[in-house]
Symmetry: C2
Subunit: 250 residues, 2 copies
DNA sequence: CGAAGTTTTGAGGACCTTCAAAAGTTGTGG
DNA sequence: CCACAACTTTTGAAGGTCCTCAAAACTTCG
């Protein structure tokens, strides 16, 4: 557990969305951080915890999930390298969901105190973090639509396309393929279907030549047809970044 | 369309969550507003719009929804009197969902420019609005769980309990009952089931003496059993308000 | 090389949908 | 204030998507 700044990946992401002031960028880079390494299937946060840190995924893959009394699990989001996870805990005291890894993962922890102080001192950073949580919310909405109104084929295609677009934005798409270290059982927990049915759904997608899978690499073989099937529009990912701010100095 | 401040209801809500400074409270009350009246089933925002205002529901009931190519609709949230809706549009340029009324509704519009300026000038207000969007996100997550992992009975019970808790927090629960001016068809769009099946599900809930319905008033007859059935925990509504902030003056 | 986990296959059944129509409610105009 | 249209709720019956349970084939890893 080293103490150094690992925030340049996050700064880069923010700057893809819009300019940062020199002072603002410095303030983010100056945030005290603690880097932690996790193995596969380790809990970073458990439901009911009162975390004191947000976490930034420097490498790997994590999910947020809720568990029902019955033991059934619903994954509500995935986060890849470059994503800030659990900004919600900066203001919300008790975690209403868990966060765990699906692969060996490097996490950069930032204390809520520092996040809030910096947000107050630099309104542009407050806005950037707020925007991040708004994107989160937009993805949650789309997931509700996904499990509420799409059948298993459309639903699975939609999630795979979401991954494809996120990996592409992170420059991690190679020949229309990306590495997805998630078991079918875990994927089915995100899609609200059973592993058995997901398996048959994937077979159908492969049979239709819409996707290919090899090891844990997923390749989109037929983008137009996948997009048509899923009714996918990348609008909800809001790649364009936040509203341009033309505010007078206050 | 009058031009006056109607923000006292919102200030009251914020103060239920934690103290506001005198200056902060004044700043909110001073926000220029425009009050608009809508009838039933009117669109306040359409998917693809670029709204210039957030809207605060002073009276009535609205939903946010997405529509699929097929025409299927998924409602992703409901908002009752006292709720600030569509803060997301303050930073997100293009609306990825629509907002419409389910009853005659009074909406107070506040320009994004003023929201952002006030958030920058008063960090406590920025935090309060951020917290509001985090609650939104928490509810979206719970809805994903609802449609993803609960059957129609649990799902319907859960949504009705969410309404019951929201109305109770707004002091609008009378004898365990609340007025819900939503057709079964619209409710089914929120639950991800068909109107026919929702109808049978409601009949079952009534038959088990879990709820009563009369006109458009819903009464929870058996709280413990409803809560047990739905696996309901109000934690995700975060009635406790945001984290206490002990920041030094910056 | 064996153990544990993951993917795949099969068969039967439950939950929810679809389509269609009747019954009940609400709103409007003559 | 009634009549009629439009909408909402309810009922029925058949069918499809997805689930459950169980076991085999395959992969990964120590």
């Amino acid at each position: 557990m080293s103490i150094r700044s690992d925030m340049s990946l996050y700064v880069a992401k923010l700057e893809r969305r819009g300019p940062l002031s020199v002072a603002g960028r410095k303030a983010i880079m100056a945030l005290p951080t603690r880097t932690r390494e996790y193995g596969i299937y380790q809990d970073i946060v458990r439901e009911g915890d009162r975390p004191e840190h947000c976490c930034f995924v420097a490498d790997g893959l994590v999910s947020r999930y809720k568990t029902l009394r019955s033991g059934a699990r619903q994954i509500v989001s995935f986060h890849i390298a470059g994503d800030m996870v659990d900004l919600s805990s900066a203001l919300v005291v008790v975690a209403d969901h868990g966060i765990r890894t699906h692969a060996p993962t490097t996490v950069v922890a930032i204390s809520h105190r520092d996040i809030l102080q910096t947000s107050a001192d630099y309104p542009e950073i407050g806005r950037a973090l707020w925007f991040d949580t708004l994107i989160d919310a937009a993805i949650f909405r789309e997931w509700t639509v996904n499990v509420g109104r799409r059948n298993s084929r459309e639903r699975t295609a939609h999630l795979l396309l979401e991954f494809a677009y996120k990996f592409r934005a992170a420059d991690q798409l190679v020949n229309d393929g990306f590495e997805l270290p998630i078991s079918q059982s875990d994927l089915s927990d995100a899609l609200g279907i059973t592993p058995v049915h997901l398996n048959r759904t994937l077979q159908w997608l492969r049979g239709e030549r819409l996707i290919r899978t090899h090891m844990r690499t997923v390749t989109i073989e037929n983008w137009p047809e996948m997009i048509r099937l899923a009714g996918f529009s990348s609008a909800y990912l809001h790649p364009e970044g936040p509203r341009e701010l033309k505010l007078p100095k206050s």
